[in-house]
Symmetry: C2
Subunit: 151 residues, 2 copies
């Protein structure tokens, strides 16, 4: 199973529609669970990270292989990302991606991470990033299954 | 002026809506011209690149500062990307981004490039990439103008 834990609601209709479309496409290859945590909406970084941490912890368990999205994480090509997913699913039943809110992730969430992944040096809005991640997961399954990907 | 030359039509409604939204937002800061070239739809890489090259050449002129999007280009943070845009617009009236089709860009287009930029090691579908580029251009103008960016 692929689990995505993310902070913040998707507001724009074009983003929710794109997300739904990729969720539908991924569901042909794997069970997918997206857990959307409410944005705390405070400006105190320490407080926000702590509160988000508590919510994230409630949604992970010891069986999860945790991939955190961190700007300083490792960058992979789409091919290497698909290999990473394929290899991980051989020995783990769950891959859990964790995307933080505006302040990123707390140190203790980072310390639970099995793999720190970065998509870009650039900062993307969380709504757009969710689509980017879903599209790469979908692409990964297409690559794993040797299926043609229509760009 | 910001000019974007790209190959391939946007088909999904949620993508066209997202693109329109970012185009509207950017237009507050700069004139924006998006030139969408038709996808050749052939499988011979050499032929496709040559035909795309001809079309691209018709849409650039000697005054353009050309930024090509290439997977092997330089990766910048959002802050550095905004500096790049700000600095370039001091001495150039036009910044022209060129995004290739499925086969990338021909060698002669690459040789015309003033700056080779990469957003990620990953490959994105051209529809999604157009949104990613527009969002970063919009973000760059927000940064240049010291405006808050609501993620």
């Amino acid at each position: 199973m692929i689990k995505i834990i993310c902070v913040g609601k998707i507001k724009e209709k074009f983003f929710t529609d794109a997300i739904k479309e990729y969720e539908k496409r991924i569901s042909k290859y794997s069970e997918l669970k997206v857990i959307e945590l409410e944005d705390i909406g405070l400006s105190d970084k320490k407080v926000v990270l702590k509160k988000e941490e508590e919510k994230i912890l409630k949604n992970i368990n010891s069986k999860d292989y945790i991939i955190t999205l961190e700007i300083e994480g490792k960058e992979l090509s789409s091919i290497d990302f698909s290999k990473k997913i394929e290899d991980t699913l051989i020995t783990n039943s769950n891959i859990t991606f964790i995307i933080g809110g505006s302040f990123g992730l707390s140190e203790s969430i980072k310390s639970l991470s099995n793999y720190k992944l970065s998509f870009s040096k650039m900062t993307f809005p969380h709504q757009l990033f969710r689509i980017i991640l879903l599209e790469q997961i979908y692409r990964a399954f297409k690559i794993i299954n040797n299926e043609e990907y229509h760009k």
